[in-house]
Amino acid sequence: MTSHSLMIAGIAVLAAGTFLMRVAGYRLGSRLNFSPATQTMLSDAATTLLLAVAATSALFEGQHFAGYARVTGVSVALFLAWRKAPLMVIIIAAAAVTALLRGFGIQ
């Protein structure tokens, strides 16, 4: 029971915090005037963070190597993205290649 209400409280705190952060970002963003160069740098910063998330989640599970099956699946996705394949094809290929390799016993 206690852990239940603790969890609900945690969710409420996170919800309020996330919302406030968004409002603050919006309020602050409409006050500050960034130069076009700074704006492009900020958008590149977002891309940089996302690529880092993709790279670490492709290669690692926590602090351990994620295994060759996942790495190969994501590599296929990377290749297809380079060949301008549709997003749906990229997603299905990544899952299919990974599953296939695991089916053959390659972890």
Partner: protein
């Protein structure tokens, strides 16, 4: 951004539906009316369907014994790569982004989970204002 969210009272709701998707769809339209409509439609759609899909997923998930067997763990990085790849075609973005990703990977064994990604921002030191 400012024109998408709306003014005064509406901006509170406008901030609530602010996410990657609604913003991307919003800023990519040509006229002011279309921008606003796209932002609000996409934002409201996600506000409705995201929680519904999560509940459906939790239910359907019971019938999937091991998500790894069907390769679902490879889908998350694959989606990210598919979405950001167009941006990586420009050198200005690619150089800091790949440097940052390499720094993050190098940091994984040494810092707690979640931290390595933040190290990627060091890659922005390689950022130059070019095409």
């Amino acid at each position: 951004m400012k024109d998408l969210v709306g003014s005064k009272a509406m901006s509170w709701l406008g901030c609530h539906i602010m996410n990657d998707e609604s913003v991307v769809f919003g800023i990519s339209q040509s006229t002011h009316e279309k921008r606003k409509t796209a932002y609000w439609l996409c934002g409201a759609g996600i506000a409705l369907f995201w929680p519904v899909s999560v509940m459906a997923g939790a239910y359907i998930g019971q019938f999937i014994p091991d998500i790894k067997a069907i390769g679902l763990d490879a889908v998350f990085p694959a989606i990210l790569l598919g979405l950001i790849f167009p941006a990586l075609r420009s050198r200005r973005t690619r150089i800091p982004a790949t440097s940052g990703a390499l720094i993050s990977l190098a940091a994984v064994p040494f810092v707690p989970a979640g931290m390595p990604v933040l190290f990627s921002l060091l890659g922005l030191l390689a950022w130059r204002n070019r095409k």
